[in-house]
Symmetry: C2
Subunit: 195 residues, 2 copies
DNA sequence: AGCCGTTTTTGACTTTTATCAAAAGTCATA
DNA sequence: TATGACTTTTGATAAAAGTCAAAAACGGCT
């Protein structure tokens, strides 16, 4: 693939960042230099429990889910992420502890891949990049908080209705089984709620 | 109260920050200049639902809880925070939206008070302060995530045991009723679990 | 169109936790 | 030490959601 195509893949990343804080050309090329593009098939596992999570992804196209296995070995989805969103196992990536989560693509997906040590170099070399990192962390924190609060505050039915109202496209891209586990309910209960 | 006493109140804040990234003297005095100390009684409401949350607190001594009212008007605690921890309503403070949460002190409490616009000035003037802000945001994000995951993954009993193991001192400082709501269970159920 | 594998729905039953009401315990203080 | 306010426990019942098993529906492919 030609270099120009790769550059194109970075445009959305840069515009997400630039909307938060202006990016110098120097920082842009440092980002390109410290990352690479990966194209992976649907159902590719990007991270498994027990591994060290030392990679952050920006989804250029496609989508992925983050899930863990509960004590009976059942998968529970905690996140669905799609194009122009960042993809990590938050706990593993931020703490450096082995991950308890898995990351798996839901579709054929193009990713910008940044290793943690490269990211840390960028943070140390370009202090203004921390402004962007801080804002993005706040943004995903809020999303996490909203989701956690909904799990607390709302009944199964209300959670379903809320998700359906806020994110109806999700139902086009993700199976009801996955959505049920994301909502913290059994597939059977979701099926009954939908009637 | 003498200026020296105030300075003393900042020492723990500075050492928390300094452990993340070295603080210049200039940044330290800017922090002091952009904040003030407040001493408030037990059961003081620092934020109410519907208000704009434009203040971040560092708890010098004492403690506070963050809670919301569910649709039946029942209080549900989402956080307990004590000395050397930051205190905000995350959603309200980060989004600028009116808060759905309340903040109330649990004890007589001494706080370092920073208004959001002052904090934003610090972030723009001292880019390295974003490094600290980013790391702290990551830290509280993780705590939130761990708590949210426990609510998802564990039964009422397991959540209680986990909390008791990790944070037994909490039970000295906070009533069982408050802890029950934090754990997402009724007080009666908590009482039964404890036997 | 027909087949296979996967996803979704349905029914019967069980488990977990909530709710309501009342009793008992704790603690500060008059 | 008796009082009143608040917190915690206990008992009985109810509601919400889970589990298991089987049937039905759907989607891709030949």
């Amino acid at each position: 693939m030609l270099q120009e195509d790769y550059l194109e893949d970075y445009q959305n990343l840069f515009s997400v960042f630039n909307a938060i804080h202006p990016l110098s050309e120097e920082l842009k090329s440092a980002i390109i230099k410290n990352s690479h593009i990966a194209k992976v098939d649907k159902k590719t596992t990007l991270l498994s429990a027990g591994e060290n999570s030392n990679t952050i992804y920006f989804i250029v196209s496609g989508g992925a889910r983050v899930y863990y296995l509960d004590k009976d070995g059942k998968q529970t989805n905690t996140w669905f992420l799609f194009e122009n969103e960042l993809l990590i196992s938050v706990y593993g990536f931020f703490t450096g502890q082995p991950s308890f989560e898995y990351i798996e693509t839901l579709e054929d997906t193009t990713l910008i891949v940044v290793k943690r040590e490269k990211l840390d170099e960028l943070y140390l070399k370009f202090m203004e990049f921390n402004y962007i990192g801080r804002k993005l962390t706040e943004y995903y924190y809020i999303r996490n908080e909203v989701q956690a609060n909904e799990l607390r505050m709302l009944s199964a039915k209300e959670r379903y209705e809320q998700l359906f109202k806020r994110n109806p496209q999700l139902f086009q891209r993700v199976s009801l089984g996955h959505i049920a586990s994301y909502l913290g309910i059994s597939q059977e209960t979701l099926s009954r709620i939908r009637k």
